[in-house]
């Protein structure tokens, strides 16, 4: 019998092989995770644990394995970001305004995972409506990163609460990244509108891919900015990322922006290598004040790819610096429209008022947090009469230029682009954005261009900084060519060596 801690330390690929070989059962694997989650409540990664459902699903998986009918993810315990609607299980989007909303339907992504045999451990914490880069805007409180700075005073106190100033896991998929890094699931679903998969993955030493816009169905996933939102996995290895994305992706008649393309065998792509590929290094990502450590890591990443046979070329994406300001017009504009549905009438929180408008205004004031209100109001302003052309139309024109930059680079034969994933390693709770929201927004400076252009991007852990915290590199690909990202990501993972994740100091 394999010790329980080892079961939670398996990769998805290893667990799949072990289940197939009947070295352990899906029930044992799930029970090990249920126990780990219980001991890690101080991290606040899960907003809802569903152990009974998990064990029932594991039992069904064991029966299917016994009958030789195992699916691609049979018996694999996963955490689900609370942005995905799950039938009969409360889904909150990290907001008070959804109250005890219990969807009578299942999102396409989670439906695909269950169809392939995966097991749901529970719902993961996140920034409210996925608006944030630190998981501090969640109505359920912040997530504690399993990572600590070297020599930090953070510890689990006698009461089980965290003591000391802890680090954020990034956001908005902070619960997903923390749970994967802390071995509280084998993989997690996440979503990315401006960097919400890749930035938390980089902060926690995990792998996160945002697929091409249209690769994964958005049906049943709570909408933030519909032209930018895309779901993807957070996992501990590149191979696991490929395995999980293959199950999450599918054509979907219920989402008109989801493409009718067959989903490739992404796992087969990881062994392709990068020989003969042209990898671009965009000089425009060399921003003022970039830390020498990030700069050094970026250079190292290019060297690893070169050593593996890729040709490294300098490229230019001249509109890069305008991506973030354009995003802070487009995303709030779409959010203000999408979030108009939370009106206190059809579901969620309701505060009674003297008339219908008063009811709307009071319900929304009580239900939304500060960051969400701020973004709805910015969006309302930029779409309002007299400002629409000056802000919204101009931002959409910038988006055309940002996308054109990428198209010109790819037209010159470049297969993928290498950049840092974030401008720094993880920061402390309460350290950023309390006075000026823009300070927090700058976290997404390297990731947001990818959403604006609808391209795929993967963050892969590549090293530790002087404080002992993980740093990630990002690879940006051509539309619908996630396979090249998995191939190049695997080279980085092999060259850097797998990051040693933190011991369970919280348990």
């Amino acid at each position: 019998m394999i010790p329980v801690t080892e079961l939670t330390h398996l990769t998805i690929a290893e667990a799949r092989d072990g289940l197939k070989a009947k070295t352990f059962s899906a029930t044992e694997l799930t029970q090990a995770h249920v126990d780990a989650i219980e001991k890690a409540r101080a991290l606040n990664a899960y907003v809802l644990e569903t152990p009974e459902k998990a064990l029932a699903m594991a039992k069904a998986s064991d029966e299917k394995i016994a009958k030789g009918e195992a699916g691609a993810l049979e018996g694999i315990p996963l955490g689900i970001k609370d942005l995905f609607c799950t039938e009969g299980v409360v889904s909150t989007a990290g907001s008070k305004i959804l109250g005890n909303f219990t969807p009578p339907y299942e999102s396409t992504v989670t439906r695909n995972l269950w169809n392939d045999g995966a097991v749901m451990l529970g719902k993961l914490n996140m920034d409210e409506f996925a608006m944030g880069s630190s998981n501090e805007t969640s109505a359920f409180g912040p997530v504690v990163s399993p990572w600590r700075r070297e020599g930090s005073n953070v510890s689990a106190g006698a009461s089980g609460a965290i003591e000391g100033t802890h680090l954020v896991p990034g956001g908005s998929s902070g619960g997903s990244a923390a749970a994967v890094a802390a071995h509280l699931c084998l993989g997690a679903t996440a979503t990315d509108t401006g960097g919400s998969i890749r930035q938390p993955a980089a902060f926690t030493g995990t792998v996160g891919i945002k697929p091409t816009y249209g690769r994964v169905s958005r049906w049943g996933t709570v909408a933030f900015a519909s032209s930018l939102d895309q779901a993807g996995p957070i996992t501990r290895t590149v191979r696991d990322s490929a395995i999980m994305l293959r199950s999450m992706a599918s054509p979907d008649p219920k989402d008109t922006t989801c493409v009718d393309l067959p989903v490739p065998d992404f796992e087969a792509a990881i062994s392709r290598g990068v020989k003969g590929l042209k990898i671009g290094i965009p000089k425009d990502y060399r921003i003022d004040g970039m830390s020498p450590e990030i700069e050094q890591l970026w250079h190292q990443g290019a060297e690893w790819l070169r050593a593996a046979g890729a040709e490294i070329v300098e490229v230019s994406l001249p509109h890069t610096k305008y991506a973030l300001p354009a995003y802070y017009i487009v995303a709030p504009a779409e959010a203000s429209s999408n979030l108009a549905r939370y009106d206190g009438v059809r579901y969620g929180l309701r505060e009674n008022g003297r008339d219908i408008v008063d009811l709307y205004e009071k319900s929304r004031a009580a239900g939304f947090g500060r960051e969400v209100k701020r973004r709805i109001m910015i969006g309302t302003y930029v779409l309002s009469a007299g400002y629409y052309d000056a802000y919204y139309v101009r931002a959409q024109k910038l988006r055309t230029l940002i996308k054109r930059d990428f198209e010109e680079v790819y037209a010159k034969g470049v297969h993928a682009i290498l950049t840092p994933a974030t401008p720094s390693s993880a920061f402390g709770i309460g350290e950023k954005g309390s006075g000026d929201p823009v300070e927090m927004y700058l976290n997404d400076i390297f990731t947001v261009t990818v959403n604006m252009a609808g391209l795929p991007g993967i963050a892969v852990p590549a090293g530790l900084d002087a404080q002992g915290l993980p740093l990630g590199l990002q690879l940006i690909g051509r539309a619908f060519d996630e396979e090249t990202l998995f191939a190049a990501g695997q080279v980085i993972e092999d060259s850097a060596g797998r990051i040693k994740l933190p011991q369970a100091w919280w348990a």
Binding site: V345, V357, K373, I378, R394, K397
Partner: protein, 95 residues
């Protein structure tokens, strides 16, 4: 461009979010910080550039215009704060 307190209250009303007198100056500061930040877009010459309407080149999927779903009003209203006979209840709207 920047917003004054009156504009903040007008935006809040358009967005159907009640704001208190104490919140208005904070919101004004935060909104102006964001508007300052996006100001740099004015540096770019966007003359003749088409605004983006679809990020991936694809043809919109279409289906037969027919009823494919429905017939479960109890599911539709099951999460509503106030209902009566499969209807959503709201305060009186028309006098």
């Amino acid at each position: 461009m920047s917003v004054d307190e009156k504009t903040v209250r007008r935006i809040a009303h358009l967005a159907r979010i009640a704001v208190t007198d104490e919140e208005v100056p904070h919101l004004q500061g935060e909104l102006n910080a964001i508007l300052d930040f996006v100001e740099q877009l004015n540096e770019v010459n966007v003359e003749g550039v088409e605004p983006m309407t679809s990020v991936t080149p694809m043809v919109m999927k279409k289906r037969q215009d027919g009823v494919t779903d429905g017939g479960y009003p109890e599911k539709i209203v099951q999460n509503a704060p106030a209902t009566e006979d499969s209807f959503f209840l709201v305060p009186k709207v028309v006098e």
